[in-house]
């Protein structure tokens, strides 16, 4: 099978990235434009599409916290969950101010590692 390292030419990795990366993502954006062009503001269909988009993002969030990539892997799962929970609670109590939630979650994450690491 043709892969990233198949050809030695300098340009081959760029072709690989263009097909497996650019085309594979922009196809869906273009389809989204064609679908979105047909959706009416305040229609039930748009509410459904928006709910699906929101649930998709929520699933991405859950995965980023539970199955992280990179250095976050080395932080215990319990600490990650506690940090995001306390951060979200602080966000709600602080009048839905995003920076309060982020500052609290990061403080708990780093403080927890300093205390128990």
């Amino acid at each position: 099978m043709i892969g990233y390292a198949t050809f030695d030419a300098w340009w081959w990795p760029y072709v690989f990235i263009a097909i497996a990366g650019w085309l594979a993502t922009d196809i869906w954006r273009w389809l989204g434009v064609l679908v979105g062009n047909r959706l009416k503001q305040d229609s039930a269909a748009l509410t459904w599409v928006r709910a699906v988009a929101t649930a998709l993002l929520a699933a991405v969030i859950a995965k980023l916290i539970l199955y992280p990539t990179g250095e976050l892997k080395n932080v215990p799962m319990a600490l990650r969950l506690i940090a995001v929970s306390i951060g979200f609670a602080a966000f709600l109590l602080g009048g839905k101010r995003i920076w309060i939630g982020i500052a609290t979650a990061l403080s708990v994450l780093i403080g927890g590692q300093l205390l128990f690491g």
Binding site: A53, A55, A58, A83, F88, I102
Partner: protein, 242 residues
């Protein structure tokens, strides 16, 4: 080039440009520092890392592409992996387009600008678009999207050679910033009850489907969770209305 021509259009385009100093843009740039570190570790050369940043733009898709390259995946396999993870872009774009377009906005312009839609641009735009007059929304989005993408391309090129020296606790915090930011900002920018229910369903179903069907987890969680939230909201409304 933008449909809302004239000085007002330029004004709103520049307002979008100014979004580069907003919290979402700064958090995204931190996440790109994290991605750049990952690409360096994986041995992807500078030119290709920069190329990926501009051409793919969506961060999760890039992480998956680098992962596929590391695993020695074939071109079709890598294409399928990235495609499956990027299906989520379709409902996001479809939800965003009705918010920004007018009757007169040409489809080719929307197709062109859709490249700049990824999670951050979606959240940023949905949060602020109500305060932008409809005829200038495309200009506002274009200003933000083009600027943030360009800024991150430059950022990746500049930090590529130094990013490997990042302390590990800081690198971990950078990876944590993104989910916490998404969680709070999407919650804050969601105006309808269906959206909040969808969020809770998505958070719960993401890990469940990850156990059952790890290849399609995000997609299943989105379609099932979003549909359930939509139906629950309908039931609630009809119950309250009768």
């Amino acid at each position: 080039m933008i449909t809302s021509s004239g000085p007002r259009g330029v004004h709103w385009f520049l307002k979008g440009v100014r979004g580069i100093v907003s919290l979402p843009a700064i958090i995204l740039m931190s996440a790109f520092v994290g991605f750049c570190g990952f690409a360096v570790e994986a041995g992807i050369p500078l030119g290709q890392t920069v190329f990926m940043t501009g051409m793919i733009w969506a961060l999760p898709a890039k992480v998956l592409l680098v992962g596929s390259i590391l695993a020695g995946a074939s071109l079709p396999a890598a294409f399928i992996t990235v495609s499956l993870s990027s299906i989520r872009l379709m409902p996001m774009v479809a939800a965003l387009i009705p918010e920004i377009r007018t009757e007169k906005t040409p489809t080719w312009l929307l197709l062109l600008l859709s490249h700049f839609i990824a999670i951050t641009a979606y959240v940023f735009t949905m949060e602020r678009i109500r305060d932008v007059p409809r005829e200038h929304r495309v200009a506002f989005f274009a200003g933000f999207g083009i600027t943030v993408t360009t800024a991150n391309i430059i950022l990746v090129a500049v930090i590529y050679s130094t990013v490997a020296n990042l302390p590990s606790m800081l690198a971990g915090a950078l990876f944590f910033l993104t989910p916490v930011y998404f969680l709070t900002s999407i919650w804050a920018s969601t105006r309808e009850r269906a959206g909040h229910i969808a969020m809770i369903f998505g958070l719960a179903l993401g890990p469940v489907f990850h156990q059952v069907a790890p290849e399609f987890d995000i997609l299943y969680a989105g379609v099932v969770g979003g549909t359930l939230a939509f139906l629950a909201d309908r039931l609630w409304k009809s119950g309250a209305g009768s």
